[in-house]
């Protein structure tokens, strides 16, 4: 085992995959400036600084992917992806299908997102549902260094375009990684059970997985066992794991930072209602940020992100715990 941050894990994965496969390359604003080690190891051809031109950087990755390379593009911050939507959505996501399978797009689009840095809504905006909604793409959003590592390796090896979203507040959190590179691969499309439980299922991804774990700890003190699922991969979505859990617990709370409307949580809730309605002992609940731009001010930013206390209270309500008996978690 080695302990490292998610950011270190990402670059370890990238470096290993570039070593493993000469077709893997990295493009983005500042990548060659900030990762001299990669330039030295793999050459300036494969580690390329780009102009501040998100549309052409993404388009270039699409063309290169269809022509034999396996590009990884660092788009910096998720809101900047709006400049690159044509390449990602119309080209990478659609042109395999539209060409009758003539092309494949093995590429990874990296972008940072998430509240916690006080940088405001044009650097912090959880756009994952946009890409989940777009045919032909895969979308991952890990929560632990081991998953940043293992999912990036899988994303680079995948023959399809993968949008890889980094929750910024997680990048400098340390975690344990296996030293066996191949054993560290994390398959895209499989959720992880972070904590087993029998009374309620908490489904989440990225930073709010940790919030759910804090809430589950508090609930356990009250004798309530919450199962915490980390989706990790938002497309494909591992509904099998979610449905199996809800069948056992009969209660579901979905928690994420992205806004509520047409969100991943909305999809999870809808599928649970469609497919295991008979197992539900209480209505499905969703906790998310409100439908507002991410604020910059620290207290507002804290209010924007779902907190453990809200999760605890929501679960207590689902279980019919009387208000006077509810634990104070503030």
């Amino acid at each position: 085992m080695t302990t490292m941050t998610a950011h270190e894990a990402l670059y370890r994965a990238l470096s290993e995959e570039m070593q493993r496969d000469a077709r893997v390359m990295l493009m983005g604003e500042g990548v060659a400036t900030l990762h001299r080690d990669l330039v030295e190891a793999f050459g300036a051809e494969r580690v390329r600084n780009t102009p501040l031109s998100e549309a052409i950087v993404a388009g270039c990755a699409v063309g290169a992917a269809a022509s034999g390379l396996r590009p990884v593009v660092d788009m910096l911050y998720a809101p900047f992806l709006t400049y690159a939507m044509d390449a990602i959505v119309n080209s990478a996501g659609k042109l395999r299908y539209m060409s009758g399978g003539q092309f494949a797009f093995p590429m990874v689009v990296l972008a940072n997102t998430g509240a916690g840095w006080g940088v405001g809504a044009q650097h912090s905006h959880n756009l994952e549902a946009w890409f989940v909604h777009s045919p032909g793409l895969k979308v991952v959003m890990p929560s632990t260094p081991a998953d940043f590592y293992g999912l990036l390796k899988s994303a680079i090896r995948d023959d399809n375009p993968v949008v890889f979203l980094n929750d910024m507040t997680l990048l400098h959190q340390p975690g344990d990684l296996t030293d066996e590179a191949e054993a560290g691969l994390v398959p895209i499309g499989r959720a992880a059970v972070r904590r087993p439980g029998s009374d309620v299922t908490l489904v989440s991804y990225a930073k709010t997985v940790h919030t759910c774990l804090v809430a589950a700890h508090t609930l356990a003190q009250q004798g309530i066992q919450a199962e915490v699922l980390d989706l990790r991969s938002l497309k494909p979505l591992d509904m099998g794991t979610v449905l199996a859990s809800v069948r056992r617990t009969g209660r579901l709370v979905v928690v994420h930072e992205a806004g509520p409307l047409c969100s991943v949580g909305a999809e999870v809730a809808a599928q649970v209602a469609e497919r295991v309605f008979d197992a539900l002992k209480a209505p499905v609940r969703r906790l998310s940020s409100p439908d507002v731009p991410t604020p910059a001010s620290h207290p507002l930013e804290q209010a924007f992100v779902p907190q453990a206390a809200q999760i605890v209270q929501t679960v207590q309500e689902l279980l019919g715990v009387p208000a006077e008996a509810q634990l104070s978690t503030s």
């Binding site: 390359m25 051809e45 494969r46 390329r48 780009t50 102009p51 031109s53 549309a55 052409i56 950087v57 993404a58 388009g59 270039c60 990755a61 699409v62 063309g63 290169a64 992917a65 269809a66 022509s67 034999g68 390379l69 590009p71 044509d86 390449a87 119309n90 080209s91 042109l95 395999r96 299908y97 539209m98 060409s99 009758g100 399978g101 003539q102 092309f103 494949a104 797009f105 093995p106 045919p135 032909g136 895969k138 023959d159 399809n160």
Partner: protein, 313 residues
């Protein structure tokens, strides 16, 4: 391609577009964006290419495809949504790619081809593969920001791309003069530091010669080049366009400079073509298109399960 072969290819493209227009006039038939009038630009550029070169094109692509050797029966099948189409009916007319001919990543998002061309060229350059990448787009696409980003990246990274701007005077339903203060797109290209040339796009031999020069320059330098062909869209933006906004005064001089009539007159004048040979050529071309229509009509539609195939690799 000889001058006569270039004429033949232009006749094939014209006959194809004329037949599609006739089918559309007869009754329900899918919409298309016709390349009629732009045949010299397509055939002249493609004539300068090698098999290993790659082409990215757009919604107005029939002449490019036919000049490159695509089978009109399979193009028509694609337009009609048939399983035998080049994209198994999943493209329709607007984004036909034919990988086996090096026609890759066709996009109908105006400027989409400009977005992907640098990546195609980069992959081939890094893989030490021979061949250049040709990107066909219009003056409308030159007004997209991606045109400017693409040219800038291609010059900075020294990518072997032939940018071919088919300046056909119209951008969907808007005259070029309403959207750009420069007469020629090449003036914009020059600002990015790549060699640029504007030529008469309705003279196939002029286009072929200019394209040869451009291609030779790219092969020698490894750097991009912009060739602008001045031409005219003879049939409106799309098949449902009434063209009520296009005046006879505007159209007349362009029709007088029709690329096919010009090449016919030239070859007849030179004595390399006779009326007899021309008549035989026309008959052969129309027979080919007749057969293509029959073939496409009798081709099957995709099976229902094709709906969900080829979404992912």
């Amino acid at each position: 391609m000889t001058p006569l072969e270039m004429l033949r290819q232009m006749l094939r493209a014209r006959a194809y577009e004329a037949r599609v227009a006739a089918l559309q006039a007869q009754g329900p038939f899918p919409m298309t964006c016709s390349s009629q009038g732009q045949e010299a630009s397509a055939v002249g550029v493609v004539a300068a290419l090698r098999p290993e070169d790659r082409i990215l094109t757009n919604h107005r692509s029939a002449a490019h495809l036919i000049a490159r050797g695509a089978d009109p029966a399979r193009i028509l099948a694609e337009v009609m949504g048939k399983a035998t189409g080049y994209c198994q009916g999943k493209s329709g007319s607007l984004h036909i790619s034919v990988a086996e001919l090096g026609v890759v990543l066709t996009s109908t998002i105006v400027g989409g081809e400009l977005s992907m061309a640098p990546g195609v060229a980069l992959a081939r350059k890094m893989g030490h593969e021979p061949g250049i990448t040709v990107c066909f787009f219009g003056d409308g696409a030159a007004c997209e920001g991606i045109f400017h980003e693409s040219l800038n990246l291609a010059t900075v990274w020294q990518l072997p791309i032939l940018y071919v701007c088919e300046n056909n005077q119209w951008q969907a339903f808007v005259r070029r003069q309403e959207t750009m203060l420069t007469e020629h797109v090449s003036a914009w290209g020059a600002g990015y530091g790549l060699p640029c040339q504007t030529v008469d796009g309705n003279d196939v031999q002029t286009v072929r010669d200019a394209a040869r020069h451009a291609v030779d320059t790219i092969r020698a330098s490894g750097k991009p080049y912009l060739l602008e062909t001045l031409t005219y869209r003879q049939r409106g933006h799309y098949s449902g366009d009434t063209e009520a906004h296009i005046t006879a005064q505007e159209r007349a001089p362009w029709l007088a400079r029709d690329p096919i009539q010009r090449q016919i007159s030239r070859l007849l004048g030179e004595g390399t073509l006779t009326e007899q040979v021309l008549s035989e050529l026309q008959d052969a071309v129309h027979a080919e298109i007749d057969a293509a229509v029959r073939q496409a009509h009798s081709a099957p539609y995709p099976a229902p399960d094709a709906l969900c195939t080829d979404v992912y690799a």
